[in-house]
Each structure stands twice: as C-alpha cells, then as structure tokens.
C-alpha cells in the first residue's frame, strides 16, 4: 500500500502525501473498532457509543507522524550514504568487539551484588536474567547450532523443576544430588522428543515440539497424584551452602552462625545469584567447548545442509539426538535452580509463553551467538521490568522494541559467527 520510494532519489511532495495517506487509511481501518467504537454501561446494559473525534485525532496523528518519519528517514539515509567510510576498515573493529564485551559482561555480573548490596530488587532481577541466559544457552544448542526449531523447550525446564521438587519434598534429596539426575532425566525427555521428530524440519518440527511442550504441561496439570495438579508443589527446600542452611535462629549451624555473621535474608539472595551465575558460566564453557569439537561442528553442518552431511558419512540421527539431549539437559538443570529458588512451582510457570520468550532470546540474540543470548535476555527481561511504570502499555512497548530490533538487525543483535578454527591462527604462518 505505501508507495515504494526508491532510495537514490528524494521523493516528491506528492509521493510523500500519498504514502502518508495510505498509512492514515490503515490507521482508520484499525481505529474504527479499536478507538471509534466503545461500550458504555447504561442502566445495567452495555451500549455501543462512538468516539469519532478521538478516531479523527488518531488518524491525523498517524498521517503527520508518517510524513515526519518518512522525511526523517530519507534525510538519515542520505546522510549515511554520504559519510559511509571505506569498506573494510570498520569490519575489523567490529570483529574484536564481542571478546572484550563478553569479559566486560562477566565482570559486571561478578560485582553486581556487591555494588547493589542493599537493593534486593536488582539482585533478584539479575538472577532472573541469568536463568534466562542459561535457558537461552541451552536452547541455542538446539536452535542456534543444530538448526532444529523447537517451540516446546519449556517442557525440559519443567521436567527439571518437577524432578527436583519431587525428589526434595518426597525423598529429602539435596540440590546438588538432584541436579545431575534432573539433567539426565531432561536429556532422556530430549531423546524422547527427538526420536520421533528426526525426519521433520522447520515448521513441521516446530508444530510437533509445540505440542510436546503442551503435553508435558497438561500432564502436570492433570496427573494430580504425581504433581499435585494445578496447586503445584510448595515448600521446596532451598539450596544450602555446602550443607549450611540460610535461616535465622540458633537451632543447629546455619550459614550466618558458622561464619559469625548477623543473619540477613540477603545472604540467600546473594548465594542464589552466585549459584546461577556459576551454573550459567559452566553452561557457557560447556557449550562453547562443544562447539569447537567434532560434535559441535557437526551440529552446525546439519543446520547448514543435512544432505551434504549424509554424503560425507555423518550419521545425522546421532547428531540431531545429541543436540536434543544436551539442550534438554541444560534446560533441566536450569529448571532445578528455578524450583530451588522459587520454593514453589506449578504448571502455571511452564506455559508456552516461556518457550516463546526463550526462543525470542535466541533469535533476537543472533542464532548461535553466546553473547547475543546475554544481550537479548537483558533486553527481554529488563524491558518489561522497566516498563512497569507504563502499566498496561508495558507489553505494547515490549512488542515495539522487538520489532525495532528485528528491523534494525534482522540477523539478531550479534549475528557474527566466529569460526571454530583458523588456518592462519592454528598453524602459525600461512
């Protein structure tokens, strides 16, 4: 509908007006039901009332806004074309960026609770960000590296969380004992999902995995004997500091009494923060090492062209299943932490919405990019938090930000792919 404006010539005034008019027309169509009509309560019954002035104002604003935005964009494009530097020079600087950025992020994460030691809200939010970072890194194995579009990742998260919750409340298992078992169980579920979907690709795989995520959630809702249904599992034991619990009082040795500290609820918050930081960094180390091993390269090769892989003698069944299993295992481990941190879990926490956010983190970050996941989780978790002041417009803001990022960087925030090995780097001289 909008008039296509060729980049190399400035559009005439007539073209601009036509373009803005087209936008105003769309605004009118959308505005009639959303703004033009409203319901009012008249004597206990609902009546439809009209608000034509509001609609008129909205359409006029859209018209003017489009005119201005188009004008501004054209000017910007012109300016950018004029001052575009020589090709080659900026590329090198860009490549060096991620390495120090990663260490910078790690440094900030390390000192964050110390700097904000009196602000529980910030440390709590940072913990949430780190959970999503870990989940993003896990899903990155499946989606970013192996190229298998999985929409039900939250199922593995739920398996891990429920595994710990049940083992801890029923059998008194500790966090560290349950962690490997829950990871293994989630990996098993990964294989369970991976096996029947081996022949599927792209959209078809996405649909099946979406169904898988829902199956797991619905089982959790309905299998009341196991999962306590929609009521969830409460009073899950919190992780202890190598056997020292975080609690007030003098009954037994606690973390505070052992170190001779005044008890403070912040101790546990800090401990949980550093715990997820350690788990996330371990995940990062694990995944980035795997990426440089034959299995990691095979994942990427399967993403690029699975038929060529077969012709080179690679058993793509094994490659895909290992990606499913490892991605699921990492999701399960994150789930264990989630259950231990919340102390209460219910199927409510494992809806499709979560899967979508984790997938958005991976896609927005730039498929396969480890650092991109960190930046995208920051954006996706912090934006709704920052947007709290905007009350009901929060999600609108969130959606707009995502659209803007995808327009600005269609390949994700960091779409640069670092090779797993180099000829010139590895063997010294060319």
């Amino acid at each position: 509908m909008p008039v296509v404006v060729l980049a190399h010539q400035a559009p005439s005034a007539k073209e601009r007006l036509r373009d803005a008019a087209a936008v105003a027309f769309v605004a009118l169509l959308l505005g009639i039901p959303m703004l033009g009509l409203t319901t009012v309560d008249q004597g206990g019954a609902l009546h439809v009332a009209t608000r034509w002035p509001v609609l008129g104002l909205f359409v006029a604003l859209c018209f003017a806004g489009r005119l201005l935005a188009r004008f501004g964009l054209d000017r910007l494009q012109l300016a950018r074309r004029v001052q575009r530097p020589a090709v080659g020079a900026p590329a090198r600087r860009y490549r060096a960026l991620p390495s120090w950025l990663g260490w910078g992020c790690f440094g900030i994460a390390l000192v964050l609770p110390i700097v904000f030691s009196d602000n529980r809200y910030i440390v709590d939010t940072a913990t949430t960000v780190l959970i999503y970072v870990m989940l993003g890194w896990g899903l990155n194995v499946v989606v970013g590296l192996a190229g298998l579009l999985v929409l039900g990742y939250v199922a593995f998260y739920a398996v891990g969380a429920y595994c710990y919750a049940l083992l801890a409340t029923q059998y008194g298992w500790g966090f560290w004992q349950a962690l490997p078992l829950a990871g293994g169980l989630a990996a098993g579920f990964g294989l369970l999902l991976g096996w029947p979907t081996l022949r599927l690709r792209g959209d078809y795989l996405a649909i099946v995995t979406l169904g898988f995520g829902e199956i797991v959630r619905i089982i959790l809702v309905n299998w009341t004997d196991l999962s306590n249904g929609p009521n969830g599992i409460a009073s899950i034991p919190r992780p202890t500091f190598f056997g020292l619990p975080f609690k007030p009082g003098d009954d037994g040795t606690t973390f505070a009494s052992f170190f001779g500290l005044e008890f403070s609820p912040l101790h546990r918050i800090f401990f949980l923060y550093y715990l997820i930081l350690a788990l996330a960094m371990l995940t990062n180390l694990f995944v980035s090492r795997l990426r440089k091993l034959p299995i990691g390269r095979a994942w990427e090769a399967v993403r690029e062209d699975d038929i060529a892989c077969q012709a080179l003698g690679i058993n793509i069944t094994n490659v895909k299943l290992s990606a499913f299993a490892i991605g699921a295992m990492l999701g399960g481990c994150a789930g264990v932490f989630f259950a231990a941190r919340q102390g209460f879990i219910s199927p409510e926490s494992f809806t499709f919405n979560e899967s979508a956010i984790i997938l958005a983190i991976v896609v927005l970050g730039g498929m396969g990019s480890q650092l991109g996941v960190v930046l995208a989780s920051l954006v996706l978790v912090l934006l709704p938090e920052l947007g709290r002041d905007f009350a009901e417009y929060r999600m609108l803001l969130f959606g707009a930000a995502m659209i803007l990022i995808m327009i600005w960087k269609p390949g994700g925030i960091l779409s640069h792919r670092e090779p797993t090995l180099r000829y010139r780097g590895e063997s010294g001289s060319p």
Partner: protein
Amino acid sequence: MNPYRLLLHVDRLSMRFGGLMAIDDLSFDVHAGRITAVIGPNGAGKTTFFNCLTGFYRPTAGRVCLHHPQRGVLDLETLESHQVASQAQVVRTFQNVRLFPKMTVLENLIVAQHNRLQQASRFSLAGLIGLPGYRRAEAQAIEVAVDRLKRLNLIERADSVAGDLPYGMQRRIEIARALCVDPILLCLDEPAAGLNPRESAELNELLQSLVRDEGLAILLIEHDMNVVMNVSDHICVLNYGRKIAEGSPAEIRNNPHVIKAYLGEEEEDEDGAMKFPAESVP
C-alpha cells in the same frame, strides 16, 4: 583382459517413481583407477542413478555391488546414505553445490573428517578436557585439510566463509571436501557446470591427477563434452533411464544411437541442453 580391478558392479538396477521408470534395468561396471562417465540428455536418470548408488534412494530392483579392497563385497543399495560414505568409502558431490555456506572452507573440510575425529574425541569426553590424543587427531585433520586445499589451489581461501566465494571455487571446495572423506570411489555430479573454460581445463587436469596419483576411481556425470571426451576412460550413455551405449570416448562419439539421442529427431530438439561441441561431432 582388463588390467583394472572391478570396483563397482551395477546389476540390473531399476528405479520407479509411480508410473515413471527413471532407471530401467541398468547394468554396467566401474573399474578401479579409471574415470567412468555417465552421460545422457536431461532427465535421462543420471542423478537418480547417483542417488540410488549413494543411499539417498532405495532402488526398486537390482543390486549395486562394491568390491571393497579391504571389506569385501558391499551391497550399496542396502546401506544408509551415511554408511555409503563411511563404510563403503563412496563419496559424492551434488549437482547444485552443497557446501556448509556459513562455515569457513577449512571447517567444511574438517567436518568431512567427522567420524575419525569423533572417535578420537571419545564421543566428546576426551575432547572436552582436551586430552593429547584428541589434540593430535585434530592437528592431523587440519593437516589433511590443508594438504587438500593446497592441492586444489584453495589454500589462500582457507579462512573465508564458504558461501561468500565464487561459484567455480565452491565447486572445487566441494571436491576437496569429498576427498577429505578418504574415498575409493568419487562420484561427481556435473563438476564442470558453471565453470569457465579455463576452470574446466583445470578440472580435467585435477581429475586425471587424482586417478593417476592416488589410484582413485571416478564416476562422473557431466554435460560438458569437452570434459567428458577428454578425461573419461569409459562412457555409459543413458536415455529415458535405459543404457543406450557404452564404450570408449571414440566409440561413443561414433555411435549412431548416441547421436540420435543428443542431436536427435525433430521432437527431441527441445532436449538439447547439451550438445557436442562442433569439432567433436563426427
């Protein structure tokens, strides 16, 4: 009589897609240390034959026996496509180049050595902690890859992203990558398509040197008659899934059936995507 050892024996192979007989009762032999070409007009069943050979299709009838020097006789039609490459060491390239476009050239060649490396990494465990055994295997794999790249004159591009390179170069990379799998039979699906005359002359030389120096057998599908007539030792001509002629380049050039299939009668004129170059038409 024939000084070259029998390597591949195709025995009454048929492939049917619904009502279409893509390959109809095809039999011929491929010998070690020779270049065998499969030619024919578009739609003659050449690529289908490759797909049957390399496990991508299950033939409807017939057998494809590989006489492997170490592993005895292998029935290729019963193997999975990845087993054809890893066990039978029959490696193919594709008509439309299938590289891993976002990976570098060197990575492409390392992926081709996956099975060896995966074994050396003890299913990633030894690799994760970086045991010396795995490091050695990796260094060796890089050495093999670099050796192939040097041989195909691609070493300058080792760290380039494969998908960004020109088409002709991508074709050569695909051959280099196939060589990294350590094949005894290399199946090339139109390796000269899209190459300029100089590149295709280089390709001729490369194919001949591979056979001469490494004792490889090459099975070639090709439309470029300059390549086919210059390098092949043996040619098998297909038309509508049937073998219509077989023999040395000189025999094929003078075979009336072949000339008819290519230059043909009135109704097949549209088929002539490939033609003999003027000088090679008898």
